[in-house]
């Protein structure tokens, strides 16, 4: 029993060590061991790289959602303006950082997430008939560039509309 436990601990730590030094990159991303390692990782994250906050943390993403209501009102929400997506506290708001990073990574996933967020907002705004969902990437210049007057780069990379019962034209 003791030998088995020590062996398992040794394998566990070796796996963590090999993975953080990218020794299993090819196996983790494709190949016959991909699924078993992914399964193991979902249990205890032993197949995980801890390069958090490195190197490109300077890139940010903004989500702007415009809700068009029957009366002609347009309600605009933006992650840049303390929108915080109706969260009760900053910890829940932090979770939208992950949401933005995940959704920005894949175009199909962007569509699905935009649709899902639009449905939620239509449920909240019962009078709405159209949702416009926009994503922009924001990149700050370097410190030197900032002092030299370089502007913050804002690039819109996703824009979609969801319409429900558009109002009849007069």
């Amino acid at each position: 029993m003791k030998k088995l436990v020590y062996t398992l601990a040794f394998i566990h730590l070796t796996l963590i060590g090999v993975v953080i030094f990218h020794g299993l990159d090819k196996v983790v991303h494709g190949g016959i061991m991909e699924k078993p390692l992914s399964f193991l990782s979902s249990l205890n994250y032993s197949v995980w790289q801890y390069g958090f906050f490195s190197p490109d943390v300077g890139k940010s993403t903004e989500v702007e959602i415009n809700v068009y209501e029957d009366e002609g009102n347009v309600v605009q929400y933006s992650t840049l303006e303390d929108f915080e997506f109706f969260t009760a506290n900053s910890e829940s708001a932090n979770r939208f950082y992950g949401f933005k990073v995940h959704t920005a990574a894949d175009s199909v996933f962007q569509d699905l997430c935009a649709r899902s967020a639009a449905v939620r907002l239509m449920n909240i705004h019962q009078q709405s008939w159209r949702i416009n969902y926009i994503m922009r990437s924001i990149r700050y210049p370097t410190m030197k560039g900032y002092l030299n007057g370089d502007t913050i780069s804002v690039v819109e990379f996703y824009n979609t509309d969801f319409e429900l019962n558009p109002p009849e034209e007069e």
Binding site: Y6, A9, I20, L43, Y50, F53, S54, P55, E62, S92
Partner: protein
């Protein structure tokens, strides 16, 4: 020069000489307490993150799962015959998680509640993967360790009621070493990955993270006029993280290194707004090395006392 035999003996002692189980009891209390506090903060938005019609609806979040993930929608399908609504299930799940984590905190039927708490967190990670980030990953790692390690051997009801013994064992030592080595490797990876990026050396990554909208807590754009501040903080971060595996094993450095890591994560919490992430990283380091650091302080105090009385 150390011989192979001496090295072997040292390694055997390091990994198996019975160790006081107190650090593992503290680890259990800190992690289960953290899980409860985090869930309490989550509660007002619980349905928005985990509900069937939350920000990411069940159909989509379930489609992101692998075969082995356990999504709340699957559990709902199992028990929908009872007439329960999805929202009732999600709210009930919250209280189930809280009860399990409380049982774990008290150390009552510790192994059972540790497994349930870990499983609940696994379900949460499966149900809302889009909203998970570093704090949840480290909580999952910690709960896994709490589940398999002998964490009931100190400060628990199981110990008081005689269900487990509080004797030091090789299991305690091995568990503590695994946790310590895991933390060392995590920081080594975090530190050296930063060192590979030029922008970490000149402080620009740190400056950008402080001013960009996702993390900005205060207007710190003025730091651009004093680049040496961002640069010094970047270097401090890289050194403290990369050489964590050295600092934490040298008794003379351990207290300072632990203080350095705590300062780093307090800074992350305060200036980047990632309070829970900062907190769990502090708790992990305190669990792994806090007991040794505390003993170092006591030893130093007694040495100082002896010196004073001797003089």
């Amino acid at each position: 020069m150390i011989t192979y035999q001496q090295f072997r003996e040292k390694a055997v002692t390091f990994f198996s000489e019975p160790h006081d189980p107190a650090p593992l009891g503290i680890f259990r209390i800190l992690i289960s307490g953290f899980a409860i506090v985090q869930a309490a903060f989550w509660y007002p938005d619980w349905l928005a993150f985990f509900g069937q019609t939350g920000w990411i609806q069940w159909e989509i979040s379930h489609a992101l799962n692998q075969d082995w993930n356990l999504h709340l929608s699957v559990i709902y399908n199992w028990i929908s015959f009872t007439g329960i609504t999805p929202d009732q299930l999600v709210k009930g799940f919250f209280w189930f998680y809280i009860i399990a984590a409380t049982g774990l905190l008290a150390g009552w039927l510790t192994r059972v509640f540790a497994i349930i708490t870990w499983l609940c967190h696994f379900i949460m990670m499966s149900t809302s993967p889009t909203f998970m980030y570093g704090v949840d990953i480290f909580l999952q790692i910690a709960l896994f360790y709490v589940m398999v390690m002998p964490v009931a051997k100190a400060f628990s009801l199981d110990l008081r009621q005689g269900r487990v013994s509080g004797e030091p064992t090789w299991g305690v030592t091995l568990s503590l070493r695994v946790l310590q080595i895991h933390m060392c490797m995590a920081y080594l990876s975090a530190g050296y990955e930063k060192m590979l990026a030029v922008e970490w050396w000149d402080g620009n990554v740190l400056w950008r993270s402080l001013v960009q909208p996702d993390f900005r807590q205060f207007d710190l754009t003025w730091l651009a006029r004093y680049p040496w501040i961002a640069m010094s903080l970047s270097w401090f971060t890289m050194i403290v993280e990369t050489f964590y595996f050295v600092g934490m094993w040298v008794p003379r450095l351990r207290v300072f290194w632990l203080a350095g890591i705590i300062s780093l994560h307090l800074g992350i919490g305060l200036f980047l707004g990632l309070k829970f992430f900062g907190l769990i990283m502090i708790l992990m380091s305190v669990s792994a090395f806090g007991y040794d650091a505390w003993r170092d302080i006591k030893r130093q105090k007694s040495l100082n006392k002896n010196l004073i009385s001797g003089s």
